[in-house]
Symmetry: C2
Subunit: 485 residues, 2 copies
């Protein structure tokens, strides 16, 4: 049985959807004013794996991820560049979609944009004012935090403690410093929409309350996002929605951990961040995706060049296995290892499902994968007979297809993978291989070996097979380091 | 080798992407002012199968499908209902996305909306005016058809013939009646955007030229849409893009055929249309999807209730086979049929690929599937031994997974399928089954048979198995006809 850690209860719970076999999920998306960084990549890949695994388990999943296309940062960029907010957000929506495709993240079923839901947000503000959960002052509308006795239930924060906290912006006009904005009056030259309270724009939190309930209905099954969103964003979403709609909001709250760089929390404001585009200039996107799932989604993830090199070499091991299987020749005589391979495969299925059922433990899932890789390598050395080898091929194919559909990796053939990871020009390489083979024919073995050794230094390993010389890649170091100390 | 029929050349051609292994496709999407009908469903499913098959063949596909979110019909609906165009289009974008999920259509990688590209459309108009391919008059901008000598190359229409045609709106202000609008002056109270020619809005054709080139770059591999779009829409897109960008536009032009109802072309304006929502009230969405691929995508598709019932019963045959395999018990003794099943499976792969390679012939692809189904039924009657049966299970699993990934059908387990197709309440059914089993225990066989026969009349067939009584569905007629004569 699948168990998920629910931030709301602070425990792992059995996963039981609200409505039979359907799972409705809402994930907080990005604010579109710049290229996505590795923090965005982590959240996107984590919830993509969760979505994929739920589908694999047989659930019918509806997946919504929004775009925040109006907010202070977008307005700031608009003022700095003289471009309209619309123009900026359109550009970065496309950049985001490009990054998601790179990372093999499935497209959401719905991608609502905040500015398409202004009327509904105004509607929710009105409802909250009518029910006395909110009030208007000087064209701003604030949520009255004290009116919701359960405020703090997600983040575990205490209202009284919050009051004296420093993170709350103290504004004179609010009844209470904890109250937060549902609707903000637009300044001159700022984008704004007509409302009963004059020209203004939505506060950030209200968009997710509105878009999730309009598209999924209340209550829905899973609300997800980065840990940094628990407070105040998700706490405020709960307050708004549960007060306005007289319904529970979301059943399970899932949050992914931070990304650390040199042991420090990565953040845009600290300036220690890397974009997906930076990283994929040097590494295959699949390597980045793999790296992002090597750690359990709730744990912090330490980002470094070494980790990415390790990720690439780990993927190499899987692709080498597939390549070995593709090139394997069974002899006339061999051992009947059918029981053995069936046993290996059964063990894989059982272990993989059981660790993934434990709150989507991809780190353990990958260990199960490598356990299989290791055992199959030994299996191949034990000279399987034709029938046993065929079963191995079949079972491996099934296993790879499950890895593809749940983890979203191993999407290439071994040849495509090694070609993609070449750090030298392929034509040049092929002509060096040609030259080396000429040397070998002429019995000039020293010259031939020299070529092989120099290629090895560049991370290219040559293999002489009955079908000719093939190559594999093995990265030793970065061609150009991108993390400066 | 994959061959596709290219409307541009009027022949089947070998499919060779512009850039190695990548395929960039742009499909004309819907105008969002009403629920999608079966014509939209056909186009969506057809190009989804094409996309899926290309992915299956190993291509890296980028798939763009736009939303037309400003045009005359939207403005008309806005005037009639008093709702803003933005509000209307948002609603029907969500309705569209819902329908696509019902039909198991993969979400596009990019879903640009026309109104997000107004600046770029103005830019293209300016470019065309500068190059003397277009001219402004009274706030309208027109494309000068005579300035593009290749005009007509897609549709095969002759410029001189067109001139006297009645389908071209004769407007006094145009230099030539064939010229078409790139930019239209907004009437009072109509939505509009500022432009060098005053407040206006884009003509329909320009949006696709702009969005495809901005997102995919020129030239791209496949441009698709319904046959009704060949002229003037796609012809005009080619003229605009090739004149503005000095590049070829799209390499392959693919068009799907019409849907006929009672032998008449279905169309919104004729009023003889059905929405996806109408049909899926009565039928499983998978049945509709299946029906849509029973005919080659370029041929006209005859829609009728009988065809849908036939489609459901055809799917039943596949699900019954899977159910039979799941419930099959091999005896202690059996026949060694390994060669036979391997042969069946090889034949499936070879035939399926070869017909799908022939311009995505899904109709023939489904015949290959049913050929396999028929042969496996015979195979099961021939009492395979344990090993042969295991290979059958394995091969069938692989084949179903290919059917799922390319055709997008057989997405359920047999139990889910039969439950979904029940036309009576399941609890009631289960209690009738219970009652019948009680009768059988008491040897009241007449009473037991009566229950079975009455269920049969309602389209539910009972099967007594060692694990208890199971049910399957078989539709005889509609519970409520929805095509009136």
């Amino acid at each position: 049985m699948l168990k998920v850690y629910n931030t709301l209860s602070g425990k792992k719970e059995n996963f039981i959807p609200i409505n039979n076999n359907t799972v409705k999920m809402y994930i907080c998306g990005v604010t579109v004013y710049d290229k996505c960084h590795i923090g965005h990549a982590r959240s996107a890949v984590v919830f993509d794996v969760i979505r994929r695994y739920l589908i694999y388990k047989g659930y019918e999943v509806t997946f919504v991820k929004n775009f925040t296309d109006i907010d202070d940062k977008i307005i700031k960029k608009s003022n700095e560049t003289g471009r309209s907010w619309k123009d900026i957000t359109k550009e970065y929506i496309n950049e985001h979609d490009y990054d998601m495709k790179l990372l093999n993240v499935m497209v959401p079923d719905y991608v609502p944009r905040a500015t398409d839901y202004i009327d509904e947000m105004i509607g929710m503000c009105k409802k909250l004012i009518e029910k006395n959960h909110a009030y208007e002052i000087n064209g701003n509308v604030y949520f009255r935090v004290k009116s919701f006795s359960e405020y703090g239930k997600l983040s575990g924060r205490d209202i009284e403690e919050l009051k004296t906290g420093t993170r709350i912006d103290v504004s004179d006009e609010k009844d209470n410093p904890m109250d937060f904005a549902l609707w903000k009056k637009s300044k001159d030259n700022e984008p704004g929409w007509e409302s009963p309270w004059g020209k203004g724009r939505p506060g950030w939190h209200i968009e997710c309350s509105v878009m999730s309930s309009k598209i999924l209905g209340l209550p829905f099954d899973i609300h997800g996002g980065g840990k940094d969103l628990i407070f105040p964003h998700h706490e405020n979403e709960i307050a708004q929605s549960e007060c306005a709609e007289n319904s529970r909001f979301a059943k399970y709250w899932l949050h992914n951990g931070f990304v650390n760089i040199n042991k420090e929390k990565m953040s845009k404001s600290l300036g220690n961040f890397f974009t997906i585009r930076d990283i994929t200039k040097e590494f295959e996107p699949e390597t980045l995706r793999y790296f992002l799932i090597t750690t359990h989604y709730r744990s912090p993830l330490d980002f470094s060049e070494e980790q990415l090199i390790e990720a690439e070499n780990a993927l190499n091991r899987i692709y080498i296995l597939l390549d070995n299987i593709n090139n394997h020749k069974t002899g006339k005589k061999g051992n009947d290892l059918r029981g053995e391979i069936e046993n290996l495969s059964d063990k894989f299925f059982h272990s993989f499902t059981s660790v993934m059922d434990d709150d989507f433990n991809t780190a353990a899932g990958l260990s199960v994968v490598f356990d299989y890789v290791k055992k199959v390598n030994i299996f191949l050395e034990n000279k399987p007979d034709k029938k046993s080898f065929e079963i191995l091929q079949n079972e491996t194919e099934k296993i790879i297809s499950i890895i593809q559909s749940t983890l979203g990796i191993i999407t290439k053939t071994p040849e495509e993978w090694f070609r993609a990871n070449l750090n030298i020009n392929e034509e040049e390489l092929l002509s060096l291989i040609e030259k080396r083979n000429q040397h070998r024919k002429n019995k000039e073995f020293d010259a031939a070996d020299k070529i092989r050794d120099e290629l090895m230094k560049k991370g290219v390993e040559l293999l002489d097979t009955p079908e000719g010389t093939k190559y594999r890649t093995k990265r030793m170091h970065l061609s150009s380091p991108f993390i400066s100390d």
